[in-house]
Symmetry: C2
Subunit: 226 residues, 2 copies
């Protein structure tokens, strides 16, 4: 299922491992500047200060660069997700959760400028599966949270809510990061927070500013231990 890194030969010595990293960094930069289609493998090799032969020693073809890059970002994303979710959801409010999530993701995008470009630019078949999986993961994460907060929702509803939230967040983060100046970016992110808060509050039947811990108290499904 996984699209393997597809290296022609795994690096075993330190120098070659560093070289592979350099090639990926170069690919990131070059794809960001020129786009995948316009970028050439010779470009990438030159940027990585290595030879085209070395590039092809570790990557079977141009697509493998894209896949490896996407995997590297996927790992970073996963780390981000597990870093953002475990903050005690009991004491937080819905608005606070959403705000923190959006801010965290925004910081990630700011630190990884190649990410948005990669994910959007490469409608390449090799990436489609990975991107879908990643989007699905994020949608599932939101859906899971939704199901926990609103047990009355059907499974189908949860799926739709997760997909919608994912799509909206992705679009608004992209829009926000089109602006180079922080104030304009923040203004857009503020709208995103408002929009998501309104939507999820209504859709999940959860008040915006009440700590989530208090919600289970009067309800029936108060299993918070688990």
């Amino acid at each position: 299922m996984e699209t393997a890194p597809q290296r022609r030969r795994d690096p075993v010595q330190a120098r070659s491992r560093a070289r592979v990293d350099a090639i990926l960094d170069a690919a990131d930069a070059v794809f960001l500047e020129l786009g995948f289609a316009e970028a050439t493998t010779n470009h990438v090799a030159a940027r990585a200060q290595t030879s085209i032969g070395s590039l092809y020693r570790f990557f079977p073809d141009k697509d493998a660069l894209l896949v490896a890059l996407a995997e590297r970002y996927g790992a970073r994303m996963q780390a981000l997700a597990s870093q953002l979710t475990p903050m005690d959801p009991e004491g937080a409010t819905l608005r606070g959760l959403i705000s923190d999530g959006i801010d965290g993701f925004s910081a990630f995008l700011l630190a990884n400028p190649g990410f948005v470009t990669l994910i959007h630019q490469a409608r390449h078949p090799a990436l489609t599966a990975g991107r879908r999986a990643q989007e699905g993961q994020m949608a599932a994460l939101i859906g899971g949270l939704s199901a926990k907060l609103a047990p009355q929702l059907t499974a189908a509803e949860v799926v739709v809510i997760g997909e919608v939230a994912q799509a909206v967040l992705s679009a608004l983060q992209t829009l926000a990061h089109l602006h180079d100046d922080a104030p304009a970016r923040e203004a857009t992110l503020a709208e995103a927070k408002l929009l998501m808060t309104l939507y999820l509050s209504r859709r999940l039947g959860v008040p915006e500013d009440v700590p989530l811990a208090r919600l289970g108290a009067g309800g029936d499904s108060g299993q918070r231990g688990a």
Copy 2:
């Protein structure tokens, strides 16, 4: 400012005009199937049942196909916009306006499957300007409506609201049309309507289900003639 159709030679006889149309139709289909980068001009010519020479008689290069296609869609979009806006906004509610707009756009996408793909797939420089302009047009349309309904908003706020609404609508329409079955598509569109209604109602200070005509009655800025 306008990126001209850039035809190498304008068709004057009927048969050549039909041929140009056929070439554009073929380009639409081929780009949809393979993507712009993978598609070849020979592909397009073959699909149009004509020769590569004829293609290059009317289009100076491959990019010109893309630009001409985008222009054709731009014209259709503009027609759609002017068809959706003039429905008497006084008698309608905010919810109704949003619902009609989303349904109308959805029908357009269903009738023009190449449109989404074209606009998203082609991060090509030749298209960027046109796409931006088109998105800006839509954002301005929403922003204009917002300013009319909520005169208390600053110009900057109106711009942000327009951009956000445009981005969200675009993302959710795309998401909806990823589903081939009508029910799933409708479910997503229903969420889009809810989300947009909640957001604009709050942001503009306009109730969701009150006919817009009644709003100016009790207010201060009742210049509805103009």
